[in-house]
């Protein structure tokens, strides 16, 4: 084994000067678009005035945080965020595993390939298109869903205008768009299961169901556990675009989540510092969640993100 010496500055600069040169735009990108905004987070503790900049605005301490937690709607927004992401997790997590198991049991060939290609397809649609399709399909007068409801003798439902339909629509479309794509990671875990185990089981006369239960499932259990833990780390960070696009005045009571609230306050209503404070609170919670679940995962399974 070659001993890795700690790189020295001088030697490294002489050997790699051209690489440092092409690293400059990369570093510049992260400084300008990632670290400068982090520096700007301090306006959560100030009253931001565009003319006075990040640094020059007046320091107000925790005023904006206190204001958020004293509003009537704050707990509603937090619980909307949590309920929506937990519901999504509950329904979107098991299906990709099931699909991966099914694909794994299929023989390689055009049939399997077709199933894969078609189930991956919805992942490539834009959020706007997906929400557009929901809107079109659920239209009370002309949508296919209501046509079918009417055909079976039911009354048409105005899905987009009913608050109680927001969560089902969101979750169903998430399942539809992501099940195929999310199965890839489990499928790749399944492909690394030792073939000899199946052969030994076959000789012992095990049925396919038994092999699935006693070989396949235990082999991908670690992957399932890690994915679940990682998803739990993201329960407070629900995507902005889809919620925003599905939002209407009629479902705002259940569809206002933290990210849409931040957008509404910060960009629409110019409550810059207030919105930054709410966003910062959310980022910190997310960060703590990720660190915590990662530590747990490291301890339990020796697998971690870094």
């Amino acid at each position: 084994m070659q001993k890795i010496r700690r790189p020295s500055v001088k030697r490294s600069l002489r050997k790699y000067w051209d690489l440092y040169l092409i690293l400059i735009p990369v570093v510049a990108y992260f400084v300008l678009f990632k670290f400068l905004p982090m520096y700007g987070l301090q306006i959560a503790f100030r009253d931001y005035k565009p003319r006075r900049g990040f640094w020059g605005s007046d320091w107000v301490g925790l005023k904006h945080f206190i204001r958020f937690f004293s509003t009537y709607t704050c707990w509603q927004i937090i619980s909307n965020t949590l309920v929506l992401s937990l519901l999504t997790l509950f329904f979107t997590f098991p299906l990709p595993i099931l699909l991966a198991l099914i694909l794994n049991e299929m023989r390689d060939g055009p049939c399997k390939k077709t199933v894969q290609t078609i189930t991956y397809a919805p992942h490539f649609l834009s959020t706007v298109v997906v929400v557009g399709m929901i809107t079109a399909f659920c239209s009370p007068s002309t949508g296919i869903v209501n046509t079918l409801i009417k055909a079976f003798g039911g009354d048409p439902i105005y899905f987009m205008a009913k608050a109680e339909w927001f969560r089902p629509l969101y979750v169903i479309s998430e399942v539809w768009t992501n099940t195929g794509w999310d199965s890839i990671i489990f499928l790749s875990a399944l492909s690394s299961v030792d073939v000899q185990m199946y052969e030994a089981a076959k000789i012992d006369g095990a049925s396919r169901m038994k092999m699935l239960r006693w070989i396949t499932l235990p082999s991908i259990m670690p992957t399932i556990a890690i994915m679940l833990i990682l998803h739990c780390g993201r329960v407070m960070s629900i995507g902005f675009e889809k919620v925003f696009l599905l939002q209407t005045d009629l479902n705002i009571g259940v569809s206002e989540v933290i990210s849409t609230f931040v957008y509404q306050q910060g960009i629409r209503s110019a409550q810059t510092s207030y919105a930054t404070a709410v966003g910062l609170m959310n980022s910190v919670v997310n960060f703590i969640l990720v660190i915590t679940v990662n530590t747990i995962s490291k301890r339990v399974s020796e697998v971690s993100l870094w």
Binding site: I4, F35, I118, G132, I185, N286
Partner: protein, 304 residues
Amino acid sequence: MVKAGYRRRRIRLSAEDRVFGIVTYTLAILFMLVCAYPLIYVLSASVSNPALIVSGKIVLLPKGIQFRAYEAVFKSEDVLLGYRNAIFYAFAGTAINIVLTTAGAYVLSRPDLWGRTAITFLISFTMFFSGGMIPTYITIKNLGMINTVWAMLLPGAISATNLLIMRNFFTHSVPQEIIEAAYVDGCSNIGTLCRIVLPVSGSIIAVMVIFYFVGHWNAYFSAMIYLNDKKLYPLQVFLREILIQNQLGDMSGGADTVNQAEMTLLYEALKFAVITVATLPIMCVYPFLQRYFVKGVMIGSIKG
């Protein structure tokens, strides 16, 4: 034909295994149909007679085939403008993405480069903590990028995740010996990257191209918050107006009432035609890149 006696036969399947096989294939086909049905419906409705859509006659296959919806879509200045802009953002944006991501990933994959651990750590940190929507918006505003094409190209110029995936590939899947050999032979580092490393990295570059390209093509959020000049809007913004806000823009038929009534009817097919036009390019390309992105997800899952 091989004689029956010599035919290699598999071990006879037990009844239980046969049922298992049937259940597996049935479920697979069920998954496939559920995924495919909405897409087929969109395609069918886009070429059907709108009167039949309204009366609920279209369930799976198109009826009263006509292409008037597509004619209207391709006549719309808005859609064409959005299309041109989207193509520009997707190609220019992906080019910037690939150059910067490759450069960063390769530099940070050199084991004896001073400072690589610190820079990699800082880049990974941005994956878990960010300034958030508002400070990022203000930063971009302060940089003078609001309402310019740069707001669509630069703020997402590098994805930290993709950079780390690519760095993993360079560290684990490119034999380090050939890089050392090139160095010993007096090849410059950038020369090594371009002439030795990139030619064996086709698969990872294909993965990155498809990830970034799809990202740009489908991007809606950055256009919504950073742009307010209609001339710069990408397709997704016009799509939202047509599909979700029910605004037909320049396709509304103008002041003419007869035209308007006709347009209202045609709208039922037109929304599906717009979806098809916006989605078809990617739908036609991704199946050919499937084996690459499956690989990409796998490389991404390996710990670096």
